[in-house]
């Protein structure tokens, strides 16, 4: 029998998180600091709108790009949040989560052999999506001493004549790093200079602490060369609804809609109705959640300080990325021992790319009671490791 599989698919490494997930699922009594989603339920008024749409029998496909009403709301929301206007009829596409939009953007923009400079550590799907779109992934390892921000020097060093795209994501998963306006301005200059397009995954946009989010699309010369990926999952605690979107110049979005139409048809109708409600009336929920994450961020930063665990202070998302290299183990060894000895799951930094080696991703989307318990175990664990080292 012939090999049924594509060489390209076979060449992809399975996600490092998947591997860890399998280990954790064998351990039902383990607690966790490993999730990449909010701990809030979707606010009731949003859920209720989804239920109402079902009661009304709104159970059909929507137009491929998504309900126009929702696209109009997204357009207003983008104007409000990042100060960029997008035509709801031609420059907004509603997708099945931000993840689908990432895949579509790469596939719509890459020709075989085009290089994509992408930041690392970063979300697990960028690299495989680039590979599946016949692009050549070129990771830019970000450094802790730069607070995991991308510098223009790092970007320049990654650019070759074949570089077509830059993929960035701030606030960042897994580091929690953000990029401020002046950081992005320097990056934008390099992009314009080198005629690069940008895919900017801003799914954690609503979760910044003490600093307002800036989108690279809002900088001079960038709107026409940037596709912004966003979604409802993190801002409105709607991960399970699978609702995301992409906004960008018409000529790119049009091709993304074409692919979306053939692969997906349209995003779930119930989720789209709920999404309209989220954008219209979800602002105070977002504020409440942001405030709550921020308190937990302070709490866990303080706990790290007290146990002498080195960690740069992240200003976005709901992750901390402490350095664990002092213990003389790889991230995976550390995470595995932590799980086996203390029954706490946390994701090794290396799951987010080679440059995540030496770090651990800690999510603080947990109740204080859960954090208290897990941090107590972390302290006990690292005290023991330090004892072993002596």
């Amino acid at each position: 029998m012939r090999d049924p599989l594509s060489e390209k698919v076979k060449s992809l490494k399975p996600s490092g998180i998947r591997k860890f997930f399998d280990v954790v699922s064998e351990m039902p009594d383990a607690i966790s600091l490993g999730v990449g989603e909010p701990d809030f339920d979707t606010p009731w008024h949003i859920r209720e709108e989804g239920i109402y749409s079902l009661e009304q029998g709104s159970t059909f496909y929507t137009s491929n790009a998504g309900l126009l009403e929702l696209r109009k709301e997204i357009s207003r929301y983008m104007k409000r949040k990042i100060g960029v206007e997008y035509d709801p009829k031609a420059e907004v596409l509603v997708t099945v989560g931000g993840s689908e939009a990432i895949d579509l953007a790469f596939r719509s923009m890459l020709n075989a052999g085009d290089e994509v400079a992408y930041i690392e550590p970063s979300f697990v799907s960028y690299l495989p999506c680039i590979v599946m779109a016949d692009g050549v992934p070129v990771p830019i390892p970000l450094k802790e001493e730069n607070r995991f921000r991308l510098t223009p020097e790092e970007l320049r060093a990654a650019i070759t004549p074949k570089t077509k795209l830059l993929m960035i994501s701030f606030p960042n998963n897994p580091t929690g790093a953000i990029m401020e306006r002046e950081d992005l301005e320097k990056i934008a200059e390099v992009c314009v200079e080198n005629d690069l397009y940008v895919i900017s995954d801003e799914i954690y946009m609503e979760l910044t602490y003490g600093v307002k989010h800036t989108s690279i699309a809002s900088l001079p010369g960038m709107r026409e060369r940037t596709v912004v990926i966003n979604g409802f999952s993190k801002a409105f605690a709607m991960t399970g609804w699978r609702l995301g979107y992409a906004v960008g110049p018409e000529r790119i979005i049009r091709q993304m809609i074409k692919l979306h139409q053939f692969a997906i048809m349209s995003a779930p109708t119930t989720a789209q109705y709920a999404g309209i409600e989220a954008m219209r009336h979800g602002e105070k929920d977002v504020e409440m959640m942001r405030d709550s994450y921020n308190k937990r961020r302070h709490y866990i930063m303080k706990a790290f300080q007290d146990m002498g665990l080195s960690c740069f202070e992240p200003q976005g998302a709901f992750y901390l990325f402490p350095r664990i290299s002092e213990f003389g183990m790889t991230s995976e060894e550390f995470a595995t021992r932590f799980l086996n000895e203390e029954k706490v799951a946390a994701v090794p930094g290396s799951a987010f790319g080679d440059s995540g080696e030496g770090f651990l991703r800690i999510s603080y989307a947990y109740s204080i009671e859960e954090l208290r318990e897990a941090l107590g175990r972390l302290k006990r664990f690292i005290d023991r490791l330090r004892g072993e080292q002596r």
Binding site: V24, G34, V35, G36, D39, V124, H298, Y299, V347
Partner: protein
Amino acid sequence: MDEKKVAVQEGILGLIEKNSKLSVPEIAAMLDRDQAEIAQAIAEMEEKRIICGYNTLINWENTVHEKVTALIEVEVTPQRGLGFDKIAERIYQYEEVNAVYLMSGAFDLTVFIEGRTMKEVAMFVSSKLSTLDSVLRTATHFVLKKYKDHGIVMVGQKKSERMKVTP
């Protein structure tokens, strides 16, 4: 009061309103303040009766303990110069009375009473409450089931469905 102080107060109240078990060091960490400042702010609020107590929310229905709660609408005659305060005091002094609110609308006071049995509560209303001079009328409603109390859902048990590790 200066803005910073108000922010600290509000931060503390926002946290302990939902969870009075938080310790001073924990509150201080979450608000990014030092412990002495938080301890002092709490002491001040206790002093000023901004913080009036630290109760525990108990769902008595899940215990073997027998307990009934009644909401009583009370219509009263306010007294010259004292308004409703005097009569409210005569009511809230009773140990059986859990809460007394002055209301707008068709009646004047809402009184929450707790007792072991319906009879006990009924006896209290007829012998103590209705007999007060200023009380014109009462209407007693027994609580049959508490679905939600103090912002906390009391029924059912929801287990988190989040997976333990996700990207």
